[in-house]
Symmetry: D2
């Protein structure tokens, strides 16, 4: 950390700041500039130190130098994390396609959708049994019944299942049904939930919060990693900005930047990032070409009657088109599409 003194700080104030730094157990290193003095603080820095030093008389500001995340950091762990579900690998350079309805409604619809996802070339089935909704009057998901429907669809198609968990009390239950636990954008900083999925023994897909900085997102991953769960997948799903022509703004910059800062896989979610089905394909391809390890997309056989988020769901035809174009782009970049998780149901049950 660097303590920047005010331009008008007195010698006494500078000495007293240095003394305070030493009193907290750090080494101080003073440098006199043209305009003002700065004091470098050396030792095992913790983030709160910034606030503590900021209140000392004559201090203008305190600048952090080291990165606050370690386990998620590529500087510390240079090799890519690869999350495996059967034969399917997420983060090994191949492109993974996750599709499915926003909400789980009826078994019939979910099965139809799962078969369409599979037929179109998908690798995982997504679907919400628990739905975060802005309004208490909106449909909030079928809960365990929804989880059972997803499990039925997995059995019928061989697609592993990813679904959201919203409440720390439901983690065990959801983990019994799901292959990947999803943490939604609104829960990126629900720290007690992060603690629980850190202990759940299942891979976790961590969506970036609506106003989560890249640093906060990686720190949220750090929560999960710090409990020993190494299988964290990041998901960029758009941030909230002043632009209202789309539901959110897909931060495509974040894809290659996070791949550089961290060893964790990154998935793009063009459905929530745009809120418009006709933007899903171009933005999805943009995510892949900029380095994403895959996409998670809303698919619905009959988007007009989806229980939620119809406007951003792809039809099975458009889903297949997206997968096919993604494969073309991936091939052009020397990447391949991911492989299926299991060869057959027996292999899945054995896994």
């Amino acid at each position: 950390m660097i303590v920047v003194m005010s331009a008008g700080a007195t010698e006494e104030q500078i000495l007293s700041a240095q003394k305070a730094i030493r009193a907290l157990g750090f080494k101080d290193h003073r440098i006199g500039g043209e305009e003002r003095t700065v004091v470098a603080v050396l030792g095992h820095i913790y983030p709160e130190l910034q606030d503590e030093l900021g209140t000392i008389d004559g201090v203008d500001s305190v600048v952090r130098i080291s990165k606050p995340f370690k386990l998620a950091s590529r500087e510390v762990h240079p090799h890519n994390t690869v999350v495996r579900i059967g034969n399917l690998a997420i983060g090994d350079g191949s492109v993974v396609m996750m599709g499915g309805p926003c909400s789980v409604d009826t078994e019939e619809n979910v099965l139809e959708c799962a078969h369409a996802v599979k037929a179109g070339g998908g690798h995982l089935l997504r679907g919400g049994a628990y739905k975060p909704r802005s309004s208490p009057y909106a449909f909030r998901g079928h809960g365990e019944k929804g989880l059972q429907i997803l499990a039925t669809a997995r059995e019928a198609t061989g697609l592993p299942v990813i679904t959201e968990v919203m409440d720390a009390r439901d983690v065990d239950l959801v983990a019994r049904y799901a292959d990947i636990l999803q943490i939604g954008a609104r829960n990126m900083q629900n720290f007690t939930l992060l603690d629980e999925v850190g202990k759940a023994g299942r891979p976790v897909l961590l969506k970036r919060g609506l106003s989560g900085t890249i640093e906060e997102w990686l720190l949220a991953a750090e929560y999960i990693l710090s409990h020993g769960n190494r299988d964290v997948i990041l998901c960029e799903r758009g941030i909230r900005t002043f632009e209202t022509a789309t539901r959110n703004t897909f931060d495509v910059n974040a894809i290659p930047l996070v791949k550089r800062l961290s060893h964790l896989p990154v998935i793009g979610d063009p459905s929530h990032a745009t809120g418009k089905w006709y933007l899903v394909e171009p933005v999805g391809l943009a995510a892949v070409v900029s380095g994403a390890d895959g996409l998670i997309v809303e698919v619905h056989p009959n988007p007009d009657h989806a229980l939620s988020d119809g406007a951003q769901s792809l039809t099975p035809e458009n889903w297949k088109k997206l997968v096919d174009k993604t494969a073309v782009i991936a091939a052009a970049m020397g990447r391949s599409m991911a492989v299926d998780a299991w060869e057959n149901e027996a292999a899945r049950k054995a896994s």
Copy 2:
């Protein structure tokens, strides 16, 4: 709702949109404009309808007309909600001052701080036993031990206690110790937590999320209200914007706007909204003069050594100055300061 057709929509598309509206059980009402046709949708509208209608062929956009919150709305409930704790009333026009440390550390410090809050003219003691922290390596609060310290401080000073609850599993525990449950900014859309505090039988102070719109904030209040808990207090604590010179941007516009849209009391939090102790007084006064029912402020006897957020804490001297100036401004506006919750310990125990 108003369904806006594309400028080039065909007659067939318009008719088919009207048919779809009727099929969903609504009345349709078509209006032909200079440039395009719109169809008004009449009936008991639900929010998802917007997405559902948006996917119909030839539809350009769907515009919502009615407000999605009802119980929180002044249109529906014109009279101010007043939350009472003993004799203390929040929302009756008087100005309530809540102060205390960011985190509960030692009993000695909290007691010293509580006495300073009381001596300076405060009405409630704030303090975090559970702390949401961006980093898993930061101090996260003392939990129940912290709650006990707060209870001790209440007994010593007669100040009611407000403290944050972060996890649905802790609601009952925290409600046993606290007079007001606080929902933090990061949990504004933690819907299962909102459900629980809606049933907790305690007033709830609901902080606005970092990127929560005013509508989403009122919808979050609606969650709590919909469980029968009428004692919801809103708290503006700054939103996240592009400006980094302050920790957040205090949305002072929101104070009078929310007072107009809703009957619920609104409190300003200038400490988190600015992140700098020397901005707390001017921004706090701004909140009150624009209509806030009170302030919640970080106070620490010795800000240099606070376990968190030292840079934004007031010393007891500055806290007293803030209360005194607030009283002067309140008086100039014909408002008074709030009264103490209880006359004495016996009254509190009897309450």
Copy 3:
């Protein structure tokens, strides 16, 4: 326009609003909903009407239905605009590569850079003779001398030149030297400058403002188009958001959305959108794959010593790599790279 009355509006207020609408020369059309009454306003709507109607007693809000831009709108002009400079076509489906230094410094450097841009496969030379700089103490460009250097580089390489004009007084001068006039992000709403370039007889590349909405951006294009200049090229260069890990946030959603809303070509600027040279390639490819008609990129033979923006400039090697990868991606999508503007110097002079 739709005038939405308050839920509690009286019959008298509704009638008086209808009367006001008719007094302004519009037709009114009243619709009674479950909760509130709305009045559709029919006729030749102008944007200020929204504010005028919003002040009427009993009116809750006024909702705009029609789009405020016409000449820029694909609804009105369905066919793609193609901007031509010699044989080079921008907007015909091919991919155009514009490269060059941020600032024009010495003739020697610019020539070296121009040759590298050409050798790497570029189609246009960019470079700033007038530089908008946040600080009055920063280098602000060489002005006309810089324009002359650019003209020399064009002669030496056959690359058409694009350069920024910041002041309405300089439009004629810059138009004498440049093949395309650039309007920078900070001037997107410098309306008198937009008026002047609308009359300059040169194609205009219009950068999106740091906080310009897509609608405001298309309205800024409308200013230029309304003076009879049809050769407007849009340029997405990143918007300002809360995220500070990158200089700006590249709004990749905007690329396909603007291609849908407007017939104008769209160029991506990954250099300013990211501020980091190592993000230029992935974000540039993302722009192209999502539908951009080309890229504008900072290239500098020796980025360490660039007069401005060194951190975001590509070396000639990285520029060539970007062009080559762009060509691969374009081919995978069935698109080709653009062709050179002129076969030789004689052709250019004759043009």
Copy 4:
């Protein structure tokens, strides 16, 4: 400046960075931390240096320490700047009230409005002869005829006039009519315009841009100051954020922060900051109580028929109420209202 090396930087990279710093004429000062090495750069730092040093191999980031504005800085110039127009002082602790129509329409209306502003207790007349408008089809002001109307209104009421200049070519003309030149939000970084008003010999009110950081705003002031014009007045008018319930978000934090960072007067504009007349009073009072030197407010005798921005204009009655309440709040804080610029017309002509 502090050059932060990557955690994995080699000794060779560090030495080569130090060499580069010395080659640019600066002193280097190396500090080895627990995790990484940093190198302090000493000498006369210029802002571009940050980008230049950022491209050196092995450098992770470069942190700026010194503030880029000098003439606008309170550290350098501790005493408040007071701008004087006749007897009226802006920045001396008194509260100045500026009111008037958004656009200058007819002489009759402007005179009526000016008398109302004066009668209500105002000190200056505002009004736009040149109007920045998002759409080319909106009313853009009467130009010089509008300036003449403003001059007539000044003669009739004795109120000095403040009006916007949008084009460098109009500065001399506007300066002949206006007592204060206004730079609008969209032109905060129109640097050639800033240069011109820096030489115009008139006080300048500089509005903060929609997405202008506080630092950029003070740097824009620095442009004007650097030409020798010391009479710069800052104006906070709301920033663009994700919140759409109000036109902009009034950044009340900025008022006391800018008063601390700079010696220049600061005015609040609650009309544009909110876009709703009923929020003008509470937000205006908030600006004053947090330290603003005055307010600039839209007033219109008949807001329903204003040529622009009717929804945010106060009636004369509400203007008077605002002035009266402001006086009460000012008095409560020990501040007084400003005095009139001139005792009578003769005094004005003599000034």
